[in-house]
Structures are given as C-alpha cells and as structure tokens.
Amino acid sequence: MREEERDKWYQYHNEKFGIPLEYLRREYEEELSGKVPVDAPLEVPDRMDTYYKYSYGQQSRFFRELRENKKIYGAKCPQCEKVYCPPRAHCSLCYKPTEWVPLKGTGVIKACTVQYFTTSAFIKKLPFICAYVQLDGTDFIMMTNMEVEDVSKITVGTRVEAAFRDERRGTITDVYFRPVD
C-alpha cells in the first residue's frame, strides 16, 4: 500500500470503529508496509454492535420509579408473600402475578469481593467491590458494585443504603449503594 492509501485505511477504521489513529498505526503498520509474506495470517479491525429501543416489558414501572421518583420497588407474590428485587411480574414458583411494593432502600451486604481486574468497559474503575445486597423487605439478593475509598470497609453484614444519581436514565445504575455511616 502507498502511504496515502495507508492514511486512508487508518482514517476509515478510525471513523468506523472509533479506534484512535495511534493504536491503528501501532497494530497495523507492519501489515500495511507490504513486507508481510502473502500467506501469513491477516488480521483486520472489526466490531459487532446493534442499536436497540429496548422495552422493559412488565418491569417498566421499576425503572420509571427509579428515574422519576428515586424510589425502589419490589414485587410481592400474593400467594407465598416473597418479595422479589430485582422485580418480576410473576412469582416463578407460584405462577401468580406479583404486586408492586415500595422498599425503604436500605439493606445488607450478603457476600462481597474486591475486583482488581475486569472487562474493558470497567477497567478504569478498579479496584471496586462486587457484592450481593439484600434489600430490607425482600427475600432475594441483587448484584451491585461499589466504588469506595477503602475497599476493606465493606464486608458481609455491612449495612447499606440506596443513593440516586443526579442524572438518571432509567437503568439500574440510576441507583447505587453506600455504607450507612
């Protein structure tokens, strides 16, 4: 490839995938130099993605209450009286439609660990706590992460309370948990 063709190649992939030009140059300079044997494995950039306009279905109220009212709701089975959070529209054991019940937003850490390595999407937040929290008034646990100054302060039994982000988007990350002082 001639130099101007190479520049176009970098530009195209930079615009298509959002991979910075310096990384593309670092990874593909040798390949594009024309010095690589014709039978050598050839690597190219790619990305898989899909846009959504996703429906929460019968869980919709849970996310609207988070976003609009800073409220956490559970879902109570009228037969076995178990309260689900994360909520579900039907009790999976009794097969009865559940009823919405407001929760206080306080809870307790049931299990926790500290992550020192993670996926590309979260690597800049390390280290952080990965924990199961059981909200008061519910019978289930939910996964959460906690970014705290001192990770050693979070242990099984730590009492936590819900806090809400200023900018809420109708996703589970509108709410996060922090230890009760």
């Binding site: 660990t113 992550q115 993670t118 990965c130 289930f140 589970i172």
Partner: protein
C-alpha cells in the same frame, strides 16, 4: 436406551491464540483427527452436535452452520448447544441422547472456541475484551452494569464456602494451582505447563479476592471432538470402545437471589448424584480411578470435590492437603492439567476433559498414563455461579 460408546476422538493443541486458523478450520482439524481415530469417513457420520459458546468470540452468530459446512456434513442433521463453560459437557449429553434414543448410530460431538480475536487496542491485550464479550451472558438489565466477571461470581461462592467451613484456604487453592500446572507439563496439548510453587501462586498479582493470577484458568483457543456410536456400530468400528455409563445434568436458577445459598453449587450435586445413580456408583472416591473436574478457579476445584461426593460437605480442602487428588493419590484429579494447566477453550473444554479420561481408559495417555484406569468422571460446569453442570461417567471395555 441403547448403550453408547466413544469410538474415536481428536483434539487440537490448546493455545492462547491460533492466529493462523479460524474457528471452523480449528474444528476441521479436531474432526479429522477424530474420524481418523475411529477409521470413519464423513459419509459415515449420521449427525453432529456442536458445542460453541460465545458468538462474539467467533465474530459470528450461528457459527455451527459454518462448521457443519466446512466439515462436509451438509444434509445431515445437527444442533449447536451453548451452556457457558458447560457447553462441551452439554454437547456430549445431547450426543449421548442422539445415540441412546436409537435415532442415530454415529454422532460427531465437537467443541470449538476462538476468543483472542477479541482485542483491547488501548491495553494491547485480548483478555479485558474477552471478559466484555462474556459479560453479555450476565443478566443484561441488572448484572451486566455491575461490571462483574466470571471470576468475581465464583469468588463470591468461594468466600461464602470459606466463611461457612473455614476452607478453601489460600494455601490449599495454591496447591491446586501447583498440581494442575505441573500435570500440564506431561500433556502435549496443554497451554500452560509450568513448574511453580505455592509461594509463586500466593505472590502472583490479585485478580479478584481471594484469587491471584495463578488461581485462574486462562482463555484458550482450540477444538476437541469425540465420535459416539451405538453398541452395535461400536463393535464394528473399534476394539477399544470407551462406554458412557452415567450421564447427569442440572441447571440451577441463574439469578442467585433465587437460590437458598451460594456456598455450594447445587446443580453440581444434582448432576453428580444422577450420573452416579445411573452408573451404579455408591462411593465415588473408591469406585472412580480418575476425574477431570472443571477447575476454572482453584477454589472451585476444591468445592467440586465436595459437589462430586469425594468427601463430606466442607471437607474439600483436606483432599488437596492429604494428597488424595494428586497424580499418585487415591483419586487423581485433572491429570490433563485441567482448565488451569491445559486451558479453557470454552466450547471444547468438556470434550477435551472427556478426551483425557478416555485416553487413560484406553491406556494411551503416554507419560501421564494412570495405571489400570477403569472408570473416570468428567464434570463440566458453566454460567453465573455454576448455572449448569453436566457429569459423565466413562468406563473402559472389560
């Protein structure tokens, strides 16, 4: 039900990256080896079951169709299964059913996985991007946004187990790592053969409390295949059949909030119990000669000793301390090196484990051959906090 035998098998090397092969080319290599081992051509395969885990890894949805095409098996029935880390075990279970039902006589069960085509350009490494692709298998609405990894999910279970029973300790976990890396030094297909010490493991960098670097399996690319046949066909094909005499499977609640506890893997206990019932095994520690257990993490291998009833609940740590699971112990575990030493090519892993046990039962395991191996166990687990488990009991011809 008809009796089902393994009549042929093959595997590629397990490597961090097969840059010179696509997933269907890797599958071809394993299938060819398996067919050659059985002395069969593609025309004699009646049907196929493919174990392929992650479509993002392959950069292809419905990758099974392209494997099937490349293997020249067009117009034969096939199905692809995906049960996370237990994909290989599940593929074998479905392959078993194809033959046991009498519907088909010869079934190719093949697992394949790429992963390191995923790439993080900034960090110049595959793993964080591999983990991102995996995280799409966590509940997308509630769990995915928490940034957890497979390791952190299993770490929570190990921590809960330790809180209840006082083990596995970090030293016990380190011993499992030393054992499995060492076992891999005798396995020519292994990705991570290493002679390391307990100290090396304890000193290695933290990944997720309490796992250090050497407590984790590595991501692997590779393909493994076995060919299953009915008894009638097996007698024609081979004089060294390996019989599948027990099959157990279970799938637990994936949202762990629906489970009564997280310090044990109930799906593993159900699957092992079923497989042992079917195989007529009362005391697995005495009646099994070897086991390949799903050691994605050292701590979960120790939990698997209990979940497979090698000991009472809470006593798993003793089995590594007293040498029971060492190569010269009463019940050697992971002579292949397991996922930690041999590697974890997800869809292929359960089939690689089966290949390993069958190799010993056929007396063809070379330097690491276990003397007089008659009966072995394969445990294949996968999913958030061990959603799926498949257990298989394999026996040699008497």
């Amino acid at each position: 039900m008809k009796k089902v035998a393994i009549v042929g098998m093959g595997t590629t090397k397990f490597k961090a990256r097969w840059v010179d092969k696509t997933y269907f080319e890797l599958a071809f290599d394993a299938a060819k080896m398996g067919m050659e081992d059985a002395g069969l051509g593609r025309e004699e395969i009646d049907c196929a079951v493919y174990g392929i885990y992650n479509d993002f890894f392959q950069r292809q949805y419905q990758p099974d169709a392209f494997v099937h095409d490349y293997l020249g098996l067009g117009l034969k029935p096939m199905v692809r299964v995906n049960s996370g880390g237990a994909t290989g075990g599940t593929a074998l279970r479905i392959g078993y059913s194809e033959i046991a039902s009498g519907l088909y006589d010869v079934c190719l069960v093949l697992g394949v996985e790429k992963c390191a085509d995923c790439y993080n350009y900034e960090l110049q490494t595959a793993t964080p991007e591999v983990l991102r692709a995996i995280l799409y298998t966590a509940d997308m609405t509630y769990d995915n946004p928490a940034g957890r990894t497979a390791a952190s999910g299993f770490a929570l279970a190990v921590i809960a187990h330790k809180e209840k029973y006082g083990n596995p300790t970090e030293e016990q976990m380190a011993k499992v790592s030393v054992k499995n890396h060492f076992n891999a030094t005798k396995n020519p297909i292994a990705q991570s053969p290493q002679v390391i010490t307990v100290e090396d493991v304890l000193k290695s960098r933290k990944i997720v409390e309490p796992f250090k670097f050497y407590d984790n399996c590595l991501y692997t690319e590779g393909s493994s295949a076995v060919i299953l046949a009915s008894e009638e066909m097996a007698r024609e094909i081979t004089d060294r059949p390996v019989w599948i005499t027990g099959v157990g499977a279970s799938a637990d609640y994936v949202m762990p909030g629906n489970r009564p506890n997280i310090h044990t893997f109930e799906s593993s206990r159900v699957a092992a119990r079923k497989a042992f019932q079917m195989g007529g095994i009362q005391d697995p520690l005495k009646e099994l000669d070897l086991a390949e257990l799903h050691d994605a993490f050292t701590g979960t291998e120790i939990m698997a000793y209990e979940d497979c009833f090698f000991c009472e609940e809470g006593q798993g740590g003793d089995l590594i301390d007293n040498g029971t699971v060492m190569p010269d112990g009463e019940l050697p575990v992971n002579l292949s090196g397991g996922l930690i030493g041999c590697g974890h090519a997800v869809g292929a892993t359960g089939i690689m484990q089966t290949y390993e046990v069958a190799l010993h039962l056929r007396g063809e395991a070379g330097e690491r051959q276990l003397k007089n191996a008659r009966r072995g166990l394969v445990q294949s687990i996968g999913g958030t906090l061990c959603t799926w488990t498949v257990c298989l009991v394999l026996e040699r011809e008497e």
